[in-house]
């Protein structure tokens, strides 16, 4: 594996791990996998304990003004790191795209945070440029491209655009031995989670989730993976209720070999 470029004065790059609030509470396994994945790269990873929530649920509900304190807390907590890495596309999008109203245009701390925050796959793919992963995963895997990661962060090329094909998640999974990535009929269709949408528009949300699951099952995927636990949590809830033969795993668990 390629070693990380060293930071100032020959020190290791300092990486601040940002874990979404609900993942911390409900999906510690995926969080541990993320930490392990980063530590295996010989990075100086730190998980600051003062972190809570990025404010996305509030902002997407229209209450962005109410969550200014969370944005300020986020920037205060993470400004000291060279990179901020998170196992979630949508929370990273929140920080990158929707924090602007809370800070001055030339606010050094926010501009630094905005420029140095990465979704973990994006970080591995673009910053570290991982070329090898010493992991085997002998299963058929379907990749759920979450909308925020896929379209806002550019983790892959959206099917709507006339641009060269790219999928950072699939590129990383492709480094894994024995894995088979299945082709879905609708490669980047939304799963219907959408924050509070999953509750305020329950009927459509579940219908969308069911369609997404069906696409995976018809493609004979054994495992559904993705870079946003919120989408996966929504679909896992439906899979468990309906007793469908599909396992859900956050992509970091597969990449870290945490099976």
């Amino acid at each position: 594996m390629k070693k990380i470029p060293y930071g100032r004065l020959g020190e290791k790059m300092k990486v601040g791990l940002f874990i979404p609030c609900f993942m911390n509470e409900l999906y510690p396994k995926s969080c541990v996998a993320t930490l392990k994945l980063l530590k295996n790269l010989d990075l100086d990873v730190d998980y600051p304990l003062e972190q809570t929530c990025c404010g996305q649920p509030m902002a997407n509900s229209g209450c962005s003004k109410d969550m200014k304190a969370l944005a300020i807390n986020f920037v205060e907590t993470f400004k000291k790191y060279d990179y901020i890495v998170a196992p979630t596309g949508s929370c990273v999008t929140m920080v990158k795209d929707h924090y602007e109203p809370f800070f001055d245009e030339d606010d050094k701390d926010y501009n630094k945070v905005k420029a140095s925050i990465y979704e973990v796959c994006e970080f591995l793919h673009d910053v570290i440029k991982v070329e090898k992963l010493d992991v085997s995963f002998p299963h058929k895997v379907g990749v759920h491209n979450s909308c925020h990661g896929h379209r806002s962060l550019g983790l892959g090329s959206p099917s709507e655009l006339n641009v060269p094909p790219l999928n950072k998640l699939k590129n990383l999974l492709g480094l894994i031995k024995d894995i088979e990535i299945v082709d879905l009929k609708r490669d980047d269709e939304c799963c219907g989670f959408g924050g509070t949408f999953c509750v305020t528009e329950e009927a459509i949300s579940v219908a969308m989730g069911k369609d997404r699951i069906k696409d995976h099952i018809e493609a004979q995927a054994e495992v559904m993976t993705g870079a946003d636990m919120s989408c996966l949590m929504h679909m896992e809830g439906i899979i468990n209720r309906d007793g469908k033969p599909l396992k859900v795993m956050h992509i970091t668990e597969i990449l870290a070999g945490e099976v």
């Binding site: 541990v32 997407n60 909308c147 641009v163 980047d188 459509i204």
Partner: protein, 457 residues
């Protein structure tokens, strides 16, 4: 009264078979659009041009509209200005009365839907016949269109067969598309020949030439504009483009985005009345100018009405156009309606997961998902979102600014929830749990594990 998208959507979703049929029909169109757009290497550049032309035009709208009026007048076209729907309808009615028109053939125009022209004229004794096939079907059923390009996409062949049997006397149960289309054509041919006036919409009005362009697949606009002696064209102020050469950018984008065709079957230019006839153009504002002053929403006015955002929208595909209860449904309709009447349409900016697909398909690059996000913030500012939501979010922020308390609450929940009887977790207050299981509660949070790991080190 405000409209309720979630309830309307739930009703549409409840008929699983029909909902999936609707979803597939629109996805088919979206896939056709993908193939067509990817067949042009410069597609993304074209979108960029279209965005720039439209944005430039909107910031110089007064100049271009006046240039258009001057050039159209020179061509013998009479130009009228209407500040709202009422004025538009009055102008059209006046023209029809002056020419003793008792029957009007209309080609599809979303603007006349917006102005509710049909009921206005009908209540004044004028028969109005919509001549676009889809539009004719919904007119016979006394329904609004459910899509701006495919107005009857919510209906199946069998629905059309029943409608035609009732209104046009076709054989009961015969749902052969060719048979039904021929029946509609025969009936419409009669209308074209007997109407004394034709009304068309306008896809593009060219300032430089003073003419208008109408794009159709059935040629019905040409029949309506060329057979009767009186042609009225109704257009919103935003339909203007500066020069004839700009048109090529839009015609290449429009049909491919709308239906996946390289070009519409008929791209008809109307640059004056037919011999011995009259041509009138009504230019309508109807609440469009406030968009020009709005930094957040002005790009919505750039829309060329291709409907691509509807075809790609996973919510629209599964909830149907009528669930939006606005003349223009889907993402573009949600932003237009919420800007015009926020209270009435407050659920529409939330009928969206912010997936962003609409913004990517939009041929003129309207930032639709950003607009819907901004609408939500504006609704909160105006105190239009529910108190329950506002207070809930404020409470969540309060908790999240206290990491120690948040950790404690999480710990307690992880301890208690697994021990609760099912009935206490899955009840009518738990909307999440209606059709989904809750995640399994782990014993420890990541933070707990991390702290333990620190001790181990």
């Amino acid at each position: 009264m405000s409209i309720k998208h979630p309830e309307n959507a739930a009703k549409f979703v409840a008929n699983d078979e029909r909902m999936h049929w609707h979803d597939k029909a629109l996805w088919f169109v979206r896939e056709k659009r993908d193939k067509a757009s990817k067949s042009i290497p410069e597609w993304e550049q074209l979108r960029e041009y279209a965005d720039q032309i439209k944005t430039h035009t909107m910031s110089n709208l007064d100049t271009y509209l006046l240039e258009f009026e001057e050039n159209a007048t020179k061509r013998g076209i009479t130009v009228h200005w209407a500040k709202d729907a009422q004025e538009h309808n009055e102008i059209v009615h006046k023209l029809l009365s002056a020419n003793k028109v008792t029957k009007l053939v209309k080609s599809k125009s979303m603007l006349t839907e917006e102005c509710h022209l049909n009921p206005y004229l009908e209540s004044r004794g004028i028969q109005v016949v919509d001549t676009d096939l889809g539009e004719r079907i919904v007119q016979l059923r006394d329904e609004p269109p459910s899509h701006i390009v495919l107005p009857a996409i919510h209906l199946k062949k069998s629905d059309v067969s029943d409608t035609f049997h009732e209104h046009l006397g076709t054989q009961k149960g015969n749902d052969d598309p060719t048979y039904l289309t021929r029946a509609a054509r025969a009936s419409l041919r009669e209308d074209f020949l007997t109407a004394q006036a034709g009304l068309t919409g306008v896809n593009f009005a060219i300032a430089e030439t003073g003419g208008v362009v109408v794009c159709t697949n059935e040629g019905n606009a040409d029949m309506g504009a060329s057979v009767p002696p009186l042609h009225i064209a109704s257009m919103g102020i935003e339909k203007i483009i500066p020069r004839l050469e700009d048109l090529s950018v839009f015609t290449r984008l429009l049909a491919r985005s709308a239906t996946g065709q390289p070009i519409t079957s008929y791209t008809s230019h109307f640059h004056g009345p037919i011999e011995g006839g009259q041509m009138h153009i009504v230019i309508v504002d109807n609440k469009r100018t406030p968009f020009l002053q709005s930094e957040s929403y002005k790009k919505a006015l750039n829309c060329i009405r291709c409907g691509a955002c509807m075809n790609t929208c996973p919510i629209y595909r599964r909830s149907g156009g009528h669930s939006y209860e606005y003349v223009i449904p889907g993402p573009i309709g949600s932003t237009l309606s919420t800007f015009r009447a926020p209270k009435k349409h407050k659920t529409l900016s939330f009928a969206c997961t912010l997936c962003g697909s609409c913004t990517n398909v939009c041929p003129v690059k309207i930032d639709l998902d950003s607009q819907l996000y901004t609408h939500r913030q504006d609704l909160r500012e105006k105190n239009i979102i529910s108190n329950q939501k506002r207070l809930g979010m404020q409470a969540a922020v309060w908790l999240m600014t206290k990491p120690a308390l948040f950790n404690f609450v999480g710990k307690v929940a992880r301890k208690i929830v697994p021990k609760l009887p099912k009935g206490m977790i899955y009840n009518k207050f738990n909307v999440w749990g209606k059709q989904r299981d809750l995640p399994n509660m782990p014993e420890k949070s990541f933070k707990d594990l991390y702290k333990e790991g620190l001790k181990d080190d």
